[in-house]
């Protein structure tokens, strides 16, 4: 497959890709790290959304109204 159509690996990684070195445990670790980052992002996003929806500070602020 031509490299022009898809996102090419950075120059410093290209020879590693060609030799298949990116299938090393480091690459797997990188993928799982990406998955973990995505999962944490999703967790934090729903957490913030729920916190805004619950709006505990609104419950507190009503006492001064």
């Amino acid at each position: 497959m031509s490299r022009k159509g898809c996102a090419a690996a950075p120059e410093f990684q290209q020879h590693h890709t060609e030799r298949g070195l990116l299938r090393s445990p480091f690459a797997t670790q990188g993928r799982s790290y990406k998955g973990l980052t995505l999962m944490l992002h999703e967790l934090f996003s729903v957490y913030l959304k729920m916190l805004v929806l619950y709006s505990p500070f609104f419950v507190l602020s009503c006492s001064s109204a």
């Binding site: 967790l43 729903v46 729920m50 929806l53 619950y54 609104f58 602020s61 006492s63 109204a65």
Partner: protein, 175 residues
């Protein structure tokens, strides 16, 4: 609101009440989140129609929040305030109920659902913590500080509601 509603309670009772409210909010939210699809099925409502309806309700309540209007009158409440009005409608209001039902329908996979339930549990815990530390927070932020934070949150809820409505309209037009 917590202080005005629990005027006759001791400090210990008030702190217990904070965790009770957080737990009740967690149970109500998880149930609504999990059974949204079944509820839609029973009433024959599409998710997009509900997005538009729930988004509108959320938008109206968020407008009240942004303007600093009280949600319930402290004089008209019963003796036990844990479930009504502190959990429903103050913490889990009609807008939140709608948003939870829509969220549940939007995430059909169990791993996503599990992640969302963990987030809901964390958010409920934070609500409990804020209510538990209500005296300290009021002392630090003051009346004006609380009003500002509350109105800012109202703005965010308005934006969230608008996004839900837009998603509903787009889904209706495309699908």
């Amino acid at each position: 609101m917590l202080i005005s509603l629990t005027r006759g309670h001791s400090s210990k009772e008030r702190k217990q009440l904070a965790w009770k409210v957080a737990f009740a909010a967690l149970v109500a939210s998880v149930l609504l989140y999990l059974f949204g699809r079944a509820i839609f099925g029973i009433f024959g409502i599409t998710a997009d129609a509900f997005r538009i309806g729930a988004g509108s309700v959320l938008f109206i309540s968020a407008l009240g929040m942004a303007q600093g209007k009280p949600a319930v009158q402290a004089d008209n409440v019963q003796q036990d305030v844990t479930i009504v009005p502190l959990t429903i409608p103050l913490t889990v209001g009609p807008g939140t109920i709608g948003a939870l039902l829509v969220m549940g329908v939007s995430q059909p996979h169990w791993d996503d659902k599990l992640l969302a339930i963990v987030s809901i549990a964390l958010a409920s815990f934070t609500v409990g913590l804020v209510l538990y530390l209500s005296h300290g927070i009021e002392r630090i932020l003051g009346d004006q500080g609380l009003q500002i934070v509350s109105r800012l949150m109202g703005l965010f809820v308005c934006a969230l509601a608008a996004q839900i409505i837009f998603t509903g309209i787009r889904g209706y037009l495309v699908g």
